[in-house]
């Protein structure tokens, strides 16, 4: 287990040093709390004699707050003292060994809260009942006469009390109840209360250990250069210039990369820069931005495309319409640019490997290392560290792991492989390049009688998991234009001509919504403009019978009201509005932009209205408007839950913000 709270660097180093030392003797010397003797009450909860409650967190922490929110779900039902809660990441190999008792480690798709609500709250409630049963047995009274609060069990009639730590050992032997009743949301004492995120104090003193910070005894450092053309390969390396260079140990040749291993990373990096490397660019060598553009334009014009949503009769709709509106949109590949560059520290001995890595999916990391080395999955120990940003870069794609374990195997010592910023940016699994061609036919009243949304671009699913894009349909690429499209269009077709380039693509915050919302809402504005109707009024009219019409209207009206929609603006300042649903969160934004004489666009203000369902982590009052990151804060995933648990009324909150960066010159709603 890797403890994540209440650990300072010294003790972290001691524990990894112990692990490193153990490597020469064998693996698995990472005693978890449970193995250290404290009793486990359900797989998620360990309670020590001193009342310390250790709650296991299967998902990764990358700033979105899982390390607080998930334990909160457990603690709410456990009725324990929140100040005594510690957290730890269970190891993926332990999960495998224990028949995946902690479920899915994958942290992405804004799923951590949504998918964890029931299992985690039930785990807390189950443990609470076991503790009560143990106390009741000790007192020889019916459990129904006992209650639990703040880590203390009280026998009502006699007033006797026992602390959790006093009965934990006995409670661990109690047969867990099959059915437990969960608290009503109105009784929540932790969920949605401003408790503060537990890892924040460490983050203001430089304490958290990210992957890049891992240090092991005898560890070497590697810098890596990958083929500058995707799918290209390494031809040759002339390492003669490295002779006599201080600190340099190895030059490792991989199929499509070269790494230099040295005592220190800067030595490795400068030595790598000095190498003469020849690459075989392969089939991608002739591809350029211009050729990709041509390829995608072909997709816009293609006669066949996978249909994501169709209703009515498009041709008839167009035939009946009074005027036609058309527009094309295009967005480029985008690198995730996690501020912590990709890295992985690995130690490979024989058919076993141990890695330390900032990953959004510890199990995928384990599988990736095993596959690259050709060893059994259970022979890989993965230590998850804090992540300096994730945004989807470190989830499905674990491409930083194979090079690290292969380099480590060749070197025979623990090696930290760290990508430079340039190498990281140049070898991402990018947000896909995409284009949209819009055509709408407006009726006499100016409303759309027909709308054709043709999209094209790189499909993530057909690249990463072709089975998910069977039949040439990738619904994720079209998200925002399917059942989640808020507007009533009598004759509508959303289709997608898949055009895959050789450039690797991957998941990204909110995935395809990031471009699709821009395409969709920009074009709604084009239609409103053509019809001569105010864009807010136009949207209100278009939201008709959608099953979530109330939520769409709720956020739309809230944003418009708080932004003062319709009130006069200074000369050179303009206002725009947009509406979207993504992953069960409804959002509307009113952006104010200024256009300078030199064409510079600035966005001094954006008002965002958000309906995320139940809010689990509530920020301190003075900074409550957390949904603000115009760059789509990962926090959104914490502020969401399935509607079935949102027994409390879902709230619409508004906030005023732009990303605030003095460099922010965004020219469109972000």
């Amino acid at each position: 287990m890797t403890e994540t709270r209440g650990i300072d660097r010294r003790s972290f180093l001691v524990s990894v040093a112990a692990a490193g030392g153990a490597l020469t003797l064998g693996f698995g010397v990472h005693p978890s709390q449970a193995e250290a003797g404290a009793p486990e009450l359900t797989a998620w909860i360990v309670i020590a004699r001193d009342d310390t409650v250790t709650i296991r967190v299967a998902r990764s922490e990358m700033g979105q707050g899982t390390l607080t929110a998930l334990p909160m779900l457990v603690a709410e039902e456990l009725a324990c003292d929140w100040s005594k809660v510690r957290t730890e990441f269970p190891r993926p190999d332990e999960n495998l060994r224990r028949n995946r008792v902690w479920g899915d480690f994958s942290t992405g798709g804004s799923r951590s809260i949504r998918n964890s609500q029931e299992p985690l709250r039930k785990a807390g409630a189950t443990a609470r009942e076991m503790l009560i049963a143990a106390a009741a047995a000790q007192w020889n009274v019916p459990a129904s006469e006992c209650s639990a609060f703040n880590s203390v069990i009280t026998h009502g009639p006699s007033g006797r009390t026992l602390r959790y730590g006093e009965v934990a050992e006995a409670a661990a032997k109690v047969t867990p109840p099959k059915d437990v009743r969960l608290k009503d949301a109105s009784a929540w004492r932790l969920i949605g209360k401003p408790t503060g995120r537990i890892e924040v104090p460490d983050k203001v003193v430089g304490k958290p250990i990210y992957g890049i910070d891992v240090r092991l005894p005898g560890m070497l450092y590697a810098a890596i250069a990958q083929c500058p053309v995707f799918k290209g390969t390494l031809k040759s390396v002339d390492e003669s210039k490295l002779s006599g260079r201080r600190g340099v140990h190895n030059v490792v040749r991989l199929k499509d990369a070269v790494a230099v291993v040295a005592d220190r990373w800067w030595q490795a990096k400068t030595a790598l820069d000095a190498l003469a490397i020849e690459w075989d660019a392969g089939e991608g060598g002739e591809v350029s931005s211009a050729s990709i553009r041509e390829f995608l334009l072909g997709g816009l014009a293609a006669t066949t495309a996978g249909v994501g949503r169709a209703q009515g009769k498009l041709a008839e709709g167009f035939a009946r319409s009074a005027r036609r509106v058309e527009a094309d949109y295009a967005v480029p590949f985008l690198a995730h640019a996690t501020l912590e560059p990709q890295n992985c520290t690995a130690h490979v001995t024989g058919d076993r490997a141990e890695i330390w890595v900032p990953t959004q999916n510890g199990e995928a990391a384990m599988a990736s290392a095993a596959h690259a080395l050709g060893i059994p999955t259970q022979n890989v120990i993965v230590h998850k560290t804090m992540l300096g940003g994730g945004f989807g870069r470190r989830g499905v794609t674990q491409d930083f792991i194979p090079p690290a374990v292969l380099i480590a195997r060749e070197v025979g010592a623990p090696v930290k492989v760290l990508w430079s910023r340039e190498e990281d940016t140049g070898h991402d699994y990018y947000r896909p390049v995409a284009m949209a061609r819009m055509a709408a036919g407006l009726d006499a009243s100016g409303m759309p009688a027909a709308w054709h949304v043709r999209m094209t671009g790189n499909s993530i699913w057909s690249t990463l998991m072709p089975v998910a894009a069977r039949g040439g349909v990738d619904r994720q690429f079209q998200e925002g234009f399917l059942a989640d499209m808020p507007y009533d269009i009598p004759n509508y077709l959303a289709d997608y001509a898949i055009r895959n380039t050789h450039v690797p693509v991957g998941f990204w915050r909110c995935v395809n919504h990031t471009q699709n919302c821009f395409f969709k809402e920009s074009f709604v504005d084009e239609m409103a403009h053509a019809a001569g109707i105010d864009p807010l009024t136009y949207r209100r009219r278009l939201i008709g019978t959608h099953r979530n019409a109330n939520k769409f209207l709720g956020v739309l009206n809230a944003a418009a009201e708080r932004a003062g929609w319709g009130t006069p603006l200074p000369p050179g300042t303009f206002r725009g509005i947009a509406l979207n649903e993504a992953y069960s969160t409804f959002v509307a934004a009113v952006a104010e932009i200024t256009l300078a004489a030199d064409g510079t666009v600035r966005m001094p203000r954006i008002v965002v209205a958000l309906d995320p369902g139940t809010v689990v982590i509530r920020s301190p009052p003075r900074c409550r408007p957390r949904a603000r990151s115009c760059s789509a804060s990962p926090r959104r995933s914490m502020a969401r839950s399935p509607s079935r648990t949102a027994g409390s009324s879902s709230r619409t909150s508004t906030t005023t913000a732009c990303c605030g960066s003095p460099r922010c010159r965004r020219s469109r709603p972000c």
């Binding site: 996690t338 804090m386 900074c623 960066s661």
Partner: protein
Amino acid sequence: MISLTINGKAHNVDVEPDTPLLWAIRENVGLTGTKYGCGVAQCGSCTVHVDGVAMRSCVTPVSSVAGKKITTIEGLAENGVLTKVQQAWIANEVPQCGYCQSGMIMAVAALLKDKPKPTDADINDAITNICRCGTFQQVRAAIHAAANA
């Protein structure tokens, strides 16, 4: 060997003189709170104080700071008492992933020394650090909170 004074402690580091200070701090001295983000003085994750001035250690040759007083995020709090900036950072719950925040806090601490009550324009000019999570609004709020504490 180059002699560095970091957080009041002397360290002799055995590195090439043109090695950026960042790597000497992280790998030779072992203080990993100072981060590598870009390597070209753009993101500010590597910000430390050299004789009280905020500097981007990823482009500062270690030879240029020998004998000078270097402070990293680990040495900002004195005797375990968090500075006003750090306290404001907690109260306003500024960090998300937290990776950029060491450098952000160091830059802000230097700003407040120069300008105890900075305006928004002062903040825009001085705090050019990049946060990929988008915490800029919280950063601004926390700067004002620290200035008024």
